[in-house]
Symmetry: C2
Subunit: 385 residues, 2 copies
Amino acid sequence: MKVMILGIDGYLGWALALRLAADGHEVSGIDNLYTRKAVEEVGSTTALPISSPEERITAAKEVMGVDIRFYEGDITKYAFLQKTIRKENPEAIVHFAEQRSAPYSMIDVKHANYTLTNNLSGTVNLIYAVRKVDPRIHIVKMGTMGEFGTPKFDIPEAAFIDVSINGKEDRITVPKWGGSWYHWSKVHDTNNLLFANRLWGLTMTDIMQGPVYGSRIPEIKDPRLFTRLDFDEVWGTVLNRYCVEAVLGMPLTQYGQGGQTRAFLSLEDSVHSLSLLIDNPPEHGNYRVANQFTELYSVRQLAEMTKEIAKQLGINVQIKEFENPRVELEKHYYNPEIKVLPALGLTAPRRNIRDELKVMIRDVMENKERLEPYRGVIAPKTKWR
Amino acid sequence: MKVMILGIDGYLGWALALRLAADGHEVSGIDNLYTRKAVEEVGSTTALPISSPEERITAAKEVMGVDIRFYEGDITKYAFLQKTIRKENPEAIVHFAEQRSAPYSMIDVKHANYTLTNNLSGTVNLIYAVRKVDPRIHIVKMGTMGEFGTPKFDIPEAAFIDVSINGKEDRITVPKWGGSWYHWSKVHDTNNLLFANRLWGLTMTDIMQGPVYGSRIPEIKDPRLFTRLDFDEVWGTVLNRYCVEAVLGMPLTQYGQGGQTRAFLSLEDSVHSLSLLIDNPPEHGNYRVANQFTELYSVRQLAEMTKEIAKQLGINVQIKEFENPRVELEKHYYNPEIKVLPALGLTAPRRNIRDELKVMIRDVMENKERLEPYRGVIAPKTKWR
């Protein structure tokens, strides 16, 4: 199958490109390399060194014998996006090309506006480009479990849901509540995609994914093939951040009491899930929502697990409660449905989280010296209030 | 009171400026004059000639003895917005400065993106500027009844509502469904405003207003004080469009079967309602939702009324069913709550719709010859599908 990845240079984008290429798909991708610059902007770097897009593609050719086509460019430029899609003529387009950090969106008005306008424009451009070039292209859009917030109802895997409001029955879009401008940009995207689906019958999978952890998939057989791994307070998701903290001998930065429960998955499970969704598109014209995760943990449980695994590797770490920079409940109900991916074959986590932690900590240990100068960018500084 | 109007050059913006100034408020305003250009862009014009911002302000001074301060500029430029708010130091800011046409937003990808990014950026800038300059400023934001779509439940006047979902009780944001990118931009705005209110305690009134009709308020005592009146398929709201069609002897453009029921109000009732909301702000830190309308009509009823009044003025017009360019239900339940404005004193329509139709048709008749060349821009051309 011909698959195009928007945001191919990112953490998931590059890993997915390797997986799809290894599976025999014809892979192309677009990236404006913004994340590389924006991580530098906050004074940080990737925990594992990554190659340039050109070096990556050369390495993929040499190591795996695959040809991945890379286009540097910005999908908020409509003409460029449409032209590139027309040239590649893919059957599926995976859309990761959005600003993906909640703290980054909360830095100030400039970052708030960048996040909202960049993310909404890219998605609207994709909608129109697909409608124009070939309305049968399957749009696989990365959203986040964070769009749901922490509701008291069971989180469904659906675009619409039946409700009762003051004695009247109606079918409404699944209620959402964003915890940052980033999360709201994803909620707005979902509404925009759903509107386009109803109006023009475009075929879509809207993925609600939990935070991803891990540094490896089997295809990463050469250091030039590493995908980025962020750990700072702006770009690092919680478990990846904990691992770097452990390696640097810093206390694990648990936000508040740590009862925040989220739906996690490994990098391997993320690319595997994405492959399943790409290989098994919905019927033409359908809008499919897939919740994508394998396990539920509180951020305190993750800190305790990191401490345990670090100890096995000879590192003693402390867990420290930091004043929560975010506005979020630290104790709440959380029950997301997950049926779509299991029905396609995602039966259980393909990686044990403790094993993955060990792999990740070892990968980061090899970079300990390189990461020493970045100690200052890990503790939470970007505050919601 | 010091009141600043964003979008002071528009249909409602200018009329409200006159009303507030006449009531003794100190009025300033910002406008980028985009609507003037965008109406020209679609080959149209205002049905009643309007003066330049400078001439309007001079006329207001001469005729009413009031000083209105005008700043030409774009609120999507944050530094300009913040500086102007700091200079004026208003107690309330009324925000009309958005792209306000549903068909305009549906022309193509460029117009879709302009609508979404312009509207969201302006509102986010306003949020941050108020937070920075003085968080006590009352933000009065113009939304639309169209944000609700046509639900089967009674439309509440609230940000949140209690629901039952699969046996679980929760409080969610009031369900919305936009019928165009324009409508979605307003829905996204509402979510963004509500998020900012919860996070930073800003004081807000989010107005859900129905379509406004009419050419006059008592303050318009001089032709130089006219506010714009749009009638083309892109910019004209339904009743204003019907009046121009009647005057030009064209069939009234009823979209589809005409059962679409909406919540209407006259220009006089709109500025009166806005005055009531400005003069009676919510408690500091509160988020108030006000549904703003006086009467419910289907677009068919409005066509019949226009036909009746035109006949009294010696004009015979036909009603013609046009293929509906929009995607909307033409027969539906519609029961919006309205309590906030009546509690502040909006007891009944201050204008009889038939009297207003007469006034409007007479105003347009004086411009008949001027409008002849614009016959081609009235029938629906911008199609949703």
